[in-house]
């Protein structure tokens, strides 16, 4: 908790991106181009970022360029980056230590002061400015380009985008004003709100298509061809068309529709998307200086929010998650030349596909009867065909995957596997039986793994001659899409088994969080606790519709019953029961849910529109008894909670549970819980996972008497 090692925020030294300027002779007698390179002087593993010192250097350099433009020495200005990068954006480390609103405003102004020189140069001197986007351009890195008069992009630029609203900010160095005027309001909403929410920046061809850039040139001679193109623009041989501003009614309609969507999806959970939309709404008629002032204010307001600070904490957690905490020496990992999967059901087949795809080794699936085996193999084949059909896999890669997965009913085929993972029904006795059988077949060195989501790995291994080679690897469904894997360190698990599990998850391109062998591990324990609390409130009398939306202020990816529907009420009920058996009555029982499972009733209605949440089906109220009002006597001796009451009970329960998990040593610190909830449950950056939210809303102090994270780590310090 607060004793977890964590540095108190202090100004880290800025990794300064320098501005280098050289004169270049443009072809065709177009004159001299002042070529500006942004370069932090470090290799490609350390992207350019923009902090105060770098921006000051850029501004000073551009002022010299402006003077030369005024005196007619240069005919054009070009801005580009070091190889592979224009810039990855603002220096986030610097932003998180901004201590006051004035300082935050200054940060916005510094960017504008430098970039505006590029934006205004043509108007004041007739010298046009060009951005040659030779590599990654995100946030402030793309805004440099947007402030220029013209843009080219290299075919191999890794990504272009304005991810700011995804980390609690707005594109505040001109993006919010310039993008809608450049590409239209509808596409601007996509650039500034939709893509960041989906964490999906633009590829160069997409950026060209929507008009974020004017030309795309192949990487092999991108800069040369960009300069040739710039020369033609300078001489007038090429004219670049610009779209008219969208008509006011179109602008207003798009803004209104977007507002409705934000209200439904984001609600009050975080301010940044709303602030960005306000800037977009005003961009059509505002004059540039006013719009930039408004960007400065919005940026400053947001920099001083806990949501933004938690987002940066979360962003860094996810980035750092590639190196798992507590993993043993990777050298200990066993080489894997063949994988066995026990079971051929949906989960098993998904795992077999992924193993074959990413480990590139033969995979054998075994089930009890041939029909199940055939179904599993069909899934693998159909998945490969589907991906090949969409161009996500080459035909050869698809063929390799299909060919490398085999099926059998003979457990003896596992004899040649170095690694066998079971994915049979979640029943302890069955799993123990499977492991006992396996031990008689597999090589003495082979690693055994279980994909259990809630059973004790320690108990599962207890009767084996070699329990030390058993490790838990908990995949989430759908296996291909979910970025998290929980690696379960059971009591007797040896380092070699753990190291092998981490090596495999790394090759599968998953982020691993190590958990002790405690019920539900991390994600299911908390996710099902939340579900249980919400259902429990309904059992007590809260109307299903009130309970379903009660957690909206958290901005979770979906309402509670949509999640129940996604997981499947039967699975939810099974895990809830299993957790209650192990953890006690903190995990509530629900007769209503049990009946819903029994009847196989669907709990949600269809979403009113694509991208909107699926609301709970009011008809399921009957499974719990009539809806009551707060103040009325509740059922089961409970009081009837309103939405705030449900939220309060959920947050209180979460705080208690996380406190217990840290005491039990499920994970070393709150950071692993936050990382697991972000990647395993999709909980938002603005909540920092969950512990920053519980700290800033006072729950940790109230329930546990202390914070999870030191003040300032994931919030604006007091």
């Amino acid at each position: 908790m607060s004793e977890t090692p964590s540095t108190t925020p202090a100004a880290p030294p800025e990794r300064v991106t320098h501005t280098l300027v050289r004169d270049v002779r443009m072809p065709g007698g177009a004159g001299t181009l002042a070529l500006v390179t942004l370069d932090n002087g470090l290799d490609h593993t350390k992207p350019n970022t923009l902090g105060p010192a770098g921006l000051a250097e850029l501004k000073a350099a551009l002022e010299v360029v402006r003077t030369r433009a005024e005196s007619g020495e240069i005919a054009a200005v070009g801005v580009t980056g070091k190889p592979y990068f224009v810039a990855a954006g603002a220096d986030l480390k610097g932003i998180t230590v901004v201590s006051g609103h004035d300082e935050a405003v200054e940060l916005g102004r510094m960017g504008h002061a430098a970039y505006t020189i590029l934006g205004d140069l043509h108007g004041t001197t007739g010298v046009p400015t060009f951005a040659f986007v030779n590599g990654l351009a995100l946030g402030g890195g793309l805004e440099v380009a947007l402030n220029c008069d013209y843009r080219t992009v290299a075919s191999d630029a890794a990504a272009l985008g304005l991810p700011e609203t995804g980390i609690g900010l707005v594109p505040g160095w001109g993006g919010a004003y310039l993008v809608p005027r450049l590409v239209g309001i509808e596409k601007a909403v996509e650039v500034i709100l939709t893509r960041p929410a989906a964490n999906k920046p633009y590829k160069p061809a997409e950026a060209l298509q929507i008009g974020l850039v004017d030309e795309l040139f192949e990487a092999a001679d991108f800069l040369e061809q960009s300069i040739v193109w710039a020369a033609k623009v300078v001489t007038g041989e090429i004219e670049v068309p610009r779209r008219e501003l969208d008509p006011q009614p179109v602008w207003d309609a798009v803004v209104a529709a977007t507002k409705d969507r934000l209200d439904a999806v984001v609600g009050t959970s975080r301010p940044a998307p709303h602030r960005a939309l306000e800037l977009l709404a005003a961009a059509r008629n505002a004059i540039k200086t006013d719009a930039f002032d408004a960007e400065d204010q919005a940026l400053a307001d947001l920099v001083m929010t806990d949501e933004m600070r938690a987002s940066i904490y979360a962003f860094n957690l996810v980035g750092g998650g590639k190196k798992p905490q507590g993993a043993p020496d990777p050298q200990l990992a066993r080489p894997i030349t063949k994988v066995g999967v026990v079971g051929a059901g949906l989960m098993a087949a998904q795992m077999a596909f992924l193993f074959a795809q990413r480990l590139g080794v033969p995979v054998v699936m075994r089930d009890l009867d041939q029909e199940r085996v055939d179904n599993g193999l069909s899934f693998v084949r159909e998945t490969a065909e589907k991906l090949a059909g969409r161009g996500r896999l080459s035909p050869d890669a698809a063929a390799r995957i299909v060919a490398s997965v085999s099926g059998t009913t003979d457990i003896g085929e596992f004899a040649s596997c170095d690694f066998v993972i079971e994915a049979v029904t979640e029943v302890m006795e069955l799993k123990k039986k499977v492991f006992a059988e396996l031990e008689g077949v597999i090589a003495p060195e082979a690693i055994l793994a279980t994909n259990t989501s809630a059973l004790s790995v320690t108990e599962m291994a207890a009767d084996l001659a070699h329990p030390e080679r058993v490790v838990g690897i908990h995949f989430f469904n759908p296996v291909a899409q979910m970025p998290l894997v929980e690696v379960i360190n059971a009591e007797q698990t040896a380092d070699v088994a753990l190291a092998t599990a981490f090596a495999i998850t790394k090759k599968l391109r998953k982020t691993a969080v190590m958990s002790a062998d405690r019920p539900g591990f991390v994600v299911n324990r908390l996710l099902l606790l939340v579900m249980g609390q919400v259902v429990d409130a309904i059992e007590g009398g809260t109307p299903v519709e009130v309970a379903d939306r009660a957690l909206a202020p958290l901005g979770l990816p979906m309402p509670t019953f949509e999640l129940t529907d996604l997981v499947g009420p039967a699975v939810a009920q099974h895990v809830l029961t299993s957790l209650r058996e192990n953890l006690g009555d903190r995990i509530p029982a629900s007769a209503g849910l049990a009946k819903i499972v029994e009847d196989g009733t669907r709990v949600v209605l269809d979403a009113p529109a694509k991208g909107l949440p699926k609301p709970v089906d009011p008809a399921i109220q009957e499974y719990f008894g009539p809806a009551l009002s707060p103040g009325e006597p509740g059922r089961n001796g409970q009081s009837v909670l309103d939405a705030d009451g449900v939220l309060d009970s959920v947050l209180t329960a979460l705080t208690t549970e996380i406190g217990l998990m840290l005491e039990e040593g499920v994970v070393p610190g709150p950071q692993q819980i936050d990382l697991a909830m972000i990647l395993g449950a999709g909980w938002g950056f603005h909540t920092g996972g969950i512990t920053p939210y519980l700290d800033r809303t006072g729950y940790s102090e109230k329930v546990l008497g202390k914070r999870f994270l030191p003040d300032g780590v994931a919030n604006v310090p007091a």
């Binding site: 280098l20 300027v21 050289r22 270049v24 002779r25 072809p27 070529l35 500006v36 390179t37 370069d39 002087g41 580009t80 070091k82 190889p83 192949e218 092999a220 001679d221 991108f222 800069l223 040369e224 300069i227 040739v228």
Partner: protein
């Protein structure tokens, strides 16, 4: 007339080979502060290939049958089968094959003549031939494991591995080729280059190259870095003679260490007509010959004799000479042999390697590209020669015919 045979001919005739176009990078100083200090060798030649394709949209890339790229030191960024890697890096279809080739200084020339031979016998229709040398990254002979037998059996004088020494040897052999004549020739080379540059004869063949400097940022190479337009006879009198104390060869009369790349498109005469490609020169003949390594600079004399003999021409038929100026004395020995004056206006009209530099395996195609331009400017000239000396004692010579000449013999079956 008899009807055409139903079956393909068992023997086919030799086809005409045409020089379609050539281009090169600006040449840079092979030093840590040179233009290309932070630019890869393979990137240099890739830019040339792409420029050639860009200049000829009428040439479908899949019609290219071979990419032959020369480098003297085939390792590091000049390793890994350049012709193939360059084709891939330049974005040619994967179906286009390629190979690397080496004849030291005559690498690109050999790339051109070898692929031309393939065209002539019908194995290829269109080829790209070129060369690259980043001498800053790959000094001549660097890392070479010279067979000890060369020394033990006195196969060569060890000193002859140093090219400057072989130039001194030529002065010894031909005492009338004095230091003064060499110096005057060098000054003239610089002057002719400056005139050609001012007259717009250099830039059209250059491919601009973006150059990265971690200290200065990106730049753009648009001009040769090495020429010294200010050179006068007086200004080079005090120069040291680095290859021999009291010698005659100075930095001014030696080509400087150079980074650069060159490339050309060659094609069968009929294919040029089919695709609408320009025919800037027709290949008449070529020859290579060996000489003692100690006087390697003399190599172009026997190789030119070979090429002339093969063409059935005499030296008087040659109206324009593009001779690689590895060393001033080496060119003088050639001119002297054929009785051509040191300042004959037919020779190296745009100056030569003494001024612009000599990126070993890259130079051969530069000579061809410049001769092609001179042919356009001199329709009265029917034949031209490109020739160069080669380290370890070789010469290479290629004779070309000018399509702009009134008596041009043509390059398609119909014309023939």
């Amino acid at each position: 007339m008899t009807a055409a045979p139903e079956t393909p001919r068992a023997r086919r005739g030799v086809r005409d080979v045409v020089f379609v176009d050539g281009a090169r990078t600006p040449f840079g100083k092979a030093k840590p502060d040179g233009l290309y200090a932070e630019t890869r060798a393979d990137d240099l030649i890739v830019k040339v290939v792409r420029e050639l394709l860009r200049r000829h949209p009428e040439l479908p890339p899949e019609r290219i049958d071979e990419v032959a790229i020369a480098a003297t030191t085939q390792q590091g960024d000049q390793g890994l089968t350049l012709g193939r890697t360059v084709g891939m890096l330049a974005g040619l279809p994967q179906s286009v094959p390629g190979y690397a080739i080496d004849r030291m200084c005559a690498g690109a020339m050999t790339a051109a003549t070898t692929t031309a031979a393939g065209i002539a016998m019908g194995a290829a229709d269109v080829v790209i031939a070129g060369g690259v040398e980043h001498m800053g990254r790959h000094p001549m002979g660097f890392d070479a494991d010279v067979n000890p037998r060369f020394v033990a059996e006195k196969l060569v004088d060890p000193q002859s591995l140093n090219m400057g020494v072989t130039a001194e040897n030529l002065h010894d052999k031909f005492p009338h080729l004095t230091k003064e004549r060499a110096d005057r020739f060098a000054v003239e080379s610089q002057a002719k280059y400056a005139k050609a540059l001012a007259g717009g004869d250099i830039d059209p063949d250059l491919v601009p190259v973006a150059t990265r400097s971690s200290q200065q940022g990106w730049g753009l190479a648009t001009a040769d870095e090495l020429p010294r337009a200010e050179t006068t006879f007086e200004s080079i009198q005090g120069l040291k003679t680095p290859f021999r104390a009291g010698g005659r060869v100075t930095p001014a009369t030696s080509s400087p260490l150079t980074d650069g790349a060159t490339g050309a498109i060659l094609a069968a005469g009929d294919v040029v007509a089919e695709l609408g490609l320009p025919a800037r020169m027709r290949l008449v003949s070529y020859g290579y010959a060996g000489v003692p390594p100690e006087i390697m600079g003399y190599g172009p004399v026997p190789s030119t004799d070979k090429a002339l003999k093969s063409a059935g021409l005499t030296i008087d038929a040659i109206g324009l000479f593009e001779l690689n100026e590895a060393f001033a004395v080496q060119v003088l020995s050639f001119l002297d042999h054929y009785g051509i004056a040191d300042d004959d206006p037919r020779v190296n009209q745009y100056g030569g390697a003494l001024a612009m530099g000599h990126p070993l395996a890259g130079s051969g195609v530069r000579l061809m590209t410049q001769l092609a331009r001179q042919f356009e400017q001199h329709p009265e000239v029917r034949y031209g020669l490109t020739a160069m000396c080669v380290g370890l004692g070789q010469g290479g010579s290629v004779i070309w015919e000018n399509p702009h000449h009134a008596d041009y013999s043509g390059h398609t079956d119909e014309e023939n």
